[in-house]
């Protein structure tokens, strides 16, 4: 039906992952940094689905399912840590979290 080469999806996945890395490095708000991790996970999911389609196997889709479940657990724990951090530091800026810095 659709004759879209798998490489287009993979290139899009690489672009999204790269933008996620850029966001992870450049953002200063800890919530936004968490969001960039979710963006990278989404990019990897796209690559998983594309490869699963290319190989005609369904294992990739099962892995996407597990990645989404683990991302949900990670978001719950991570946001709890963010709330705790905001209560202790009264700031969401990661530059202020420098207790271990020399």
């Amino acid at each position: 039906m659709s004759a879209i080469p798998i490489s287009w999806y993979l290139v899009l996945s690489a672009i999204l992952f790269g933008l996620g890395v850029v966001a992870f490095v450049f953002k200063r708000n800890i919530i936004t940094i968490f969001m960039s991790i979710e963006l990278m996970l989404n990019a990897v999911n796209l690559a998983f689905v594309a490869f699963a389609r290319a190989r005609g196997a369904l294992d990739g889709l099962v892995f996407v399912f597990f990645v989404i479940v683990v991302a949900a657990a990670e978001a719950a724990v991570g946001l709890a840590i963010v709330i705790m951090l905001a209560q202790h530091r009264e700031s969401l800026n990661v530059e202020r979290v420098n207790l271990l810095k020399l």
Binding site: I4, S7, V11, A14, L19, F26, L58, V69
Partner: protein, 169 residues
Amino acid sequence: MSVPIILFFVCALLAVVGAVLLILAREPIHSALALVLVMMSLAVLYLLLGAPFVAAVQIIVYAGAIMVLFVFVIMLLNAGVEERTDFSKIAKWAGVPLGFFLLLLIAHFLAHSSIGTAIATGTGAATQAADTRELSTQLFRQYLFPFEATSILILIAILGALVLARKDE
């Protein structure tokens, strides 16, 4: 240009624009909405790839549950405009070009690998339903142990979140 190709380009463009907006937005809530845009367009791409179950899970779990959690925390903490801090000189002059170089390198290798030329077979509605059935069979037979393990992981995550976020006595 057939309809799937146009749809692919529209959704890919929306996803990239959303990711760029996530970086450029100064308010965390704007970043969250940009991320929802990325997730929605990725869900359409999953449909295009012939994976309706993954598309549904993407919208329900990612764009629904996880992003609501993010927006809830942003509202709860009253997160305002992000403070600007100075980047190091190395990050500014070496980091950005090297980052783009890495991006181009990955894209180059993906596009020229042997699997890159394969065609993504978007299949008809009948085979898609069969695919979802096959997926659930595989999930509850071959991958039953990881499935049960993730349920315990989620339970631990809920308990951990409760313990972490509770107010100190």
